[in-house]
Amino acid sequence: MITLEHIYWLTGLMMAGVALVNLRDPTNPRRFHNTVFWGIYAITFLVGSRLPDVVNGFLVIGMVLVASIRGLGQGKEEGSSKQAREASATHWGNKLFIPALAIPVVTVLGTVLFKKITLHGAPLVDIKQVTVISLAIATVIALSIGMAMLRPPLFAPINEARRLLDAVGWAAVLPQMLAALGALFAVAGVGTVVSGLAQQWIPLDNPSVVVLTYTIGMAIFTMIMGNAFAAFPVMTAGIGLPLIVQRFGGDPTIMAAIGMLSGFCGTLMTPMAANFNIVPTALLELPDENAVIKVQIPTALILLGANILLMNFLVFRH
């Protein structure tokens, strides 16, 4: 059976490759920093599951120190001039889209089909992780199609991965780091403290004020945690269930659905949701790391207002 662990090995191998390409590239002024950073990251993928927690903790701290002290660098872009790429684009035409579109298509097919395929009675892949595993398999298939079609040098994919990953830099690890932070917040019980404060300071004897507190609280708390999933249990246990549902007789389904979506409005406005808001600025080579947040804020605020109105109208009438 293919499990998440196998996918981690694959990711670890790619990270190790990125570290090695950096090590052999004298055009990168910080090549040893990059090598150590991606090298340690590779270790956490390859053997992280078998290392003691405390060793993993120190490995992560090591990565963070390497990235923050003098930072990471980038090699000089090799080869491909704009003319060469345009000539190649004309030569290959729309065939270039085949491997690119194979990624989403195979991922979606995988999530549907892998649930049905069994080998000697056991499922072929770990069903609980079917989406992530399908995505990984899709990238392997897409790469195989690309290699067969374009016939580049054998090490071209890893060189290209290095170029893109170093363009994103440490931001590539930030989403994972924030996910880890969210887990720590949950363990430490940060949520109970916050909802206690809200109950103490806000006059919660009017249903509209309660709805306002719950929805805006979801958005703000999501902005702090970077994730609506972390905010939802806190706000719902603290304000939603005791006040909206129990005291004012609101409908829990409508409250929960619109409450979660109010949290998503917060996700659009926070750098803490790094994989949605910060990583794309690196991927798209934008000089302002808040550029994506800035274009999202107007929609997020108007939509939060719409959610407040919707919940006010819908939650108490049934």
């Binding site: 903790g57 963070v64 923050s68 684009a89 989403p104 940060v190 939802f232 246990a237 979506l261 659009l268």
Partner: protein, 218 residues
């Protein structure tokens, strides 16, 4: 933590210090905090699987994928930046509502395809783009992917957030149907579509104006 972001210290360092401080504040010893952080980091590795798309995307970019995406748009006479982003918004939101959340994404769709197409359409109309305008278009391409995903996926009953809501409410003795949760996500989804698509229509006007302003300045 907010202070750290304001001071522009490396966010990785800020998050690490915030995590370690939270652990110590909750009464764990130093080694136990490091271990808790290490464990949380290792169990969150699935977040990074997306980077496996980089080798093939890089390879295709080297072979001219972005240039081809622009050329395709150049062949469509009615293509504008707004219309391309609107079409992607609709496709992304509808497919997400059907549970196909992996059809989009920044590394695999926005960078290689959607952003170059949106830029290409603007280049066709207005000629060479000033860097500010180009960056604005790219930021919007990324924003469309996020907004359409967030307010589409909750209409699908087996998505993470719906399951989380159900699990949490069950623990608290309140029983709800996932299908009902999904239905009540629809009003917000419609609002999101109307609001953001209106903004995208205004974007085209803004692009036209800012390109002509840039030309006047030069």
């Amino acid at each position: 933590m907010v202070i750290g972001f304001v001071l522009r210290v490396n966010p990785l360092l800020v998050v690490t210090v915030a995590g370690l401080a939270t652990g110590i504040a909750s009464g764990l010893g130093p080694l136990a905090v490091v271990a808790a952080f290490g464990k949380a980091f290792i169990t969150s590795r699935y977040v990074a699987i997306i980077w496996l798309v980089l080798p093939v995307i890089g390879l295709l970019e080297h072979a001219g994928l972005k240039e081809r995406a622009r050329a395709v748009v150049a062949g469509l006479s009615g293509a504008t930046t707004s219309r391309i982003l609107l079409a992607y918004f609709a496709i992304r939101q509808i497919t997400a509502a059907l549970g196909l959340t992996s059809l989009g994404g920044h590394p695999q769709m926005v960078r290689p395809l959607i952003a170059p197409m949106a830029e290409g359409a603007a280049e066709n109309r207005y000629g060479e783009l000033p860097p500010k305008v180009r960056n604005l278009i790219r930021a919007h391409a990324a924003g469309v992917d996020n907004i359409a995903l967030f307010f589409g996926e909750d209409i699908f009953i087996a998505i993470g957030s719906i399951l989380l809501i159900k699990g949490f409410l069950d623990q608290n003795g309140v029983h709800v149907e996932p299908s009902q949760l999904a239905i009540w996500a629809i009003p917000t989804a419609i609002c999101a579509f109307v609001i953001h698509c209106t903004r995208l229509l205004f974007l085209e006007r803004k692009l036209r104006r800012s390109v002509s302003v840039a030309e006047d300045e030069t």
